[in-house]
């Protein structure tokens, strides 16, 4: 089984729109896949970071879920190095909807995110 975590703007599971930035995403979509890439389960979790009303920071909280892969447009350098240290693959998203990036992932089309981004787009 493989666990994939994707930061999202809304609660729509596989149809959710990806968030532009990992740490500031209001939700995380957690998808469990079997060896053939079929979806075993989909969960939508609120960003539980302390600056979102919870406890801890997003990266640490996601670590607790034991993900294998994170797919995102962008991530801060600190979170990136945390996931890299924990040997979690961080891949760059190439589409806007969760189920589309999952499909790209299954086909091995996604590249690794190698650099934390300093400026998320604004405006």
């Amino acid at each position: 089984m493989e666990r994939v975590v994707i930061p999202a703007e809304d609660r729509n599971g596989l149809n959710a729109k990806l968030s532009e930035h990992f740490g500031r995403a209001p939700y995380f979509i957690v998808v469990d896949l079997d060896e053939d890439g079929n979806v075993l389960s989909v969960q939508t979790l609120r960003n539980l970071g302390e600056h979102f009303g919870g406890v801890g920071r997003p990266a640490e909280n996601i670590l607790r879920l034991r993900p294998n892969v994170i797919i995102t447009y962008g991530m801060g350098p600190r979170a990136l190095s945390i996931f890299q240290s924990a040997r979690i693959a961080v891949l760059r998203a190439n589409a806007n909807i969760v189920k589309e990036v999952l499909e790209a992932y299954r086909r091995g089309l996604l590249e690794e995110l190698t650099e934390g981004c300093y400026r998320a787009r604004h405006g």
Partner: protein, 287 residues
Amino acid sequence: MKQITILSGKGGAGKTTLTAAFTILAERIVVADCDVDAPNLHMLLHPEVIEKQEFRGSMIARIDNTKCRRCGLCREKCRFDAISEDFKVDPFSCEGCGVCTLVCPVNAISLDERIAGYVYLSKIKSGFMVHAMLNPGEANSGKLVAIVRQNAVMLAERENIDIILIDGPPGIGCPAISSVVDVDIGLIITEPTISGFHDLKRVLLLLKHFDIPSLVCINMYDINYNNTDKIVEFCRENDIEVIGRIPFNPEVTKAMIDGKTIVEYSPESDAAKEIERIWGRILSILV
């Protein structure tokens, strides 16, 4: 839901008066006063407190003198010099880390929670306000800032409010960091002085480190046009938007004495109009 923090690095640039003005201009907002050492925002927004929470920020070590054998191991291992020669814990130095409780061979030391301040959830005209008061001399202001922010998010979600405006503390240390992590925008208020410019650069580096997009606003820009130009040039070179330049206006202080913001006291003034324009621009960026 979007979060924006107003910072300055240097104190006295006008964070609080500006945060209050934006709050008055906003339709529906949650505002968080994260200057927990010396909170002033309530003096302009006149919040009505609906809930008060105790902040048990830190622990403090307590030595049981009946058990203490004065072996001195706690004094040796305490890295904050918080235990005196006669084995009294200095409440101003004790960080509550617990090392002394680990090393005491006779278990004479325990950690007590201490009430280090209070958090207030309040109603204001355009929504809600979360503010706090750290007891004078206390540590862990960063933790209190985090709690203020948590409450702000809770209120925003409960009341379906899209924007959280955070009045940040001065400096770039622990409480300032706590006030900016994971926000969508950092708005830095600066004054056109050499010190202000120096401090602005440090705050920008801080925001960059935490991956927060920055905007700069020059307050009282007409007290030194030369420095204002230098700041504008610096921002241009570094690809940072200067969102506005507010002229100096002595009515800001008169308004404060009246418990008002400049946008209420003197809405036709250039300063008030510029603040209104800036708020509009912030909204368009955030949403």
